[in-house]
Each structure stands twice: as structure tokens, then as C-alpha cells.
Amino acid sequence: MPTLDPGPGGQAVRGEAPALVLRAEAMAVRDALARVIDQLRGQGLGVEELGSVELVLAEALNNIVEHAYGDMGGEIQLWWTLGPRGLQVRIADHGAAMPDGKAPLTFGQCAVDHAAIVPEGGFGWFLITGLAHNIVYRRESGINILTFRVIVGDAALPPGRGDSLL
């Protein structure tokens, strides 16, 4: 299986093989989501939790397809671990860096009140920040690495446990 070079230090992968490697194409994203959700369903996540995970993964992966790679195409690596603090996700790609080297974590495109000025885009990061925690983006040796956590499973059960600020 072709893999991305994690670069010096290997922090992109921490020595683990990715759970999934996919082509940066819309239909490949669909297939990848189906596989991840299928596995997580088997680990006891509820319908609503699976919906959150599928949505946030879809947004992160589609951003890479549309913006990091664009027409170039390429490869995306995906790791995930379901643990007591929720679902930890790491996504790596070799596409273009985020504008200004930062993930757009604070912006207000969706705070609209009038149909006339409703945007047709810009919802993706809004959804990611609404559903994921501890979102970290970094560019390392030409690789984009996005990590975040979705509070599901055991992490979502007892009140006050496992939740934290972005």
C-alpha cells in the first residue's frame, strides 16, 4: 500500500500504520466514511453519535479533496482510536497548506439572519468546530496534519467527564 512519508521525526504517524488510506475523491470519501461508521457501530456508538462522527469526518475529508488537493488529486491517510476520552482522529495529506498556515477555527460566515445573504459555502469548518474538540492543525515536512476529538462513547456518558474546551 502506498503511504505518505511522515517526515523526520515521524510525528505524523507515531509509528502506527493508518487505519485507512484513500484517494482524494468524493466517492472515495463516501466509501471511507461507510467503513469507519460500520466499524464504530460495531463498537457500540449510538445513531446520533455515529451521525456526528460521520459529519465531522466528511467535512474534514472533503476540505482536503476540494481545497488541499483540488484538481491535483492525491492520497489521504486517516487514523482513529476510540477510547475513554472519545474518538481521537488524525488525518494527513500532501496537499496545499491551509491559508496562512492555520485552520479557520474562528469566523462568522454562518451567523446570518436574512435569506438574501445566506452563503452557499463556508459551512464546513463551522460544522467541524461545532462537533469536534481539541482541533489542532499543523504543517510538517510538506504534510498537513489535522487532529481532533469527538466526544462519543464512554466519554459522553457521565456528565462533566471527558468534556473540555476546544
Partner: protein, 119 residues
């Protein structure tokens, strides 16, 4: 993109008909967003009054799908409104998280079964 349209006599507002467009695919996502918007344009050309998009079969939409629905609203003929119906929980949540639930009139169920009845 499986979209079908049907004109229904509108009991609530007897002066106009209501065009109900049923989305037959389980997903409106980045893979089909452009086709969805194009097909909506075809189906709503010449529409008057209300257009209701029945999302009762749709289990998942992402931001691209949401953008395509907003785009479908914007490309409607002058004076025509787009309303939504029968949102499943995961779809409903996308509209609430992005506040698009304040932009669209959302009905719990799609208008149906009124075609053959006298209103």
C-alpha cells in the same frame, strides 16, 4: 441524483398549487451536490408559489449538500419559496448547527395525499 417532482393541490392556500420534490437518495453530499442543484433547477423552472423539498428519504447531508440546497433556493424563479419537509435527525442537526433552520420553513411531514381529495 434521484429527484422526482409532483404538483399537489394546496388545501391550505387554495389559490396556488404546491410543487413537491422528493429526494430519493439517502445522501446529498459532496459527491452529488452539483448534480442535485442542476436537477433542482430543471424541476423548478416555471414553478410558481411554493416548492417543498421532501427530505424524508435522506439520511445524511454534509456542508456541500447544504450549500446545494441553499443554492437551489437562490436559483428559484422570482416570488417562489423553497420549504423543507420530513427532516431526519442527522439532517435536521446540520440545519440547526448552521442556523439554516431560520432561513427555511421546515415542515414535520411532506404534503401528500391531497391530490385526489376535494379541498
Amino acid at each position: 441524483m434521484n429527484l422526482t417532482a409532483e404538483t399537489i393541490r394546496d388545501c391550505a392556500e387554495t389559490t396556488q398549487n404546491c410543487l413537491v420534490i422528493r429526494a430519493g437518495d439517502p445522501r446529498i453530499d459532496a459527491a452529488v451536490a452539483i448534480r442535485f442543484k442542476d436537477r433542482m433547477r430543471e424541476l423548478t423552472e416555471g414553478a410558481g408559489g411554493r416548492v417543498v423539498l421532501d427530505l424524508g428519504q435522506v439520511e445524511f447531508i454534509d456542508s456541500s449538500g447544504l450549500g446545494a440546497i441553499v443554492g437551489a433556493m437562490k436559483q428559484l424563479p422570482e416570488g417562489v419559496t423553497l420549504e423543507l419537509a420530513a427532516l431526519m435527525p442527522n439532517v435536521d442537526r446540520v440545519f440547526r448547527l448552521t442556523r439554516m433552520d431560520t432561513v427555511f420553513t421546515i415542515h414535520p411531514t411532506a404534503p401528500a395525499g391531497q391530490r385526489d381529495r376535494a379541498c
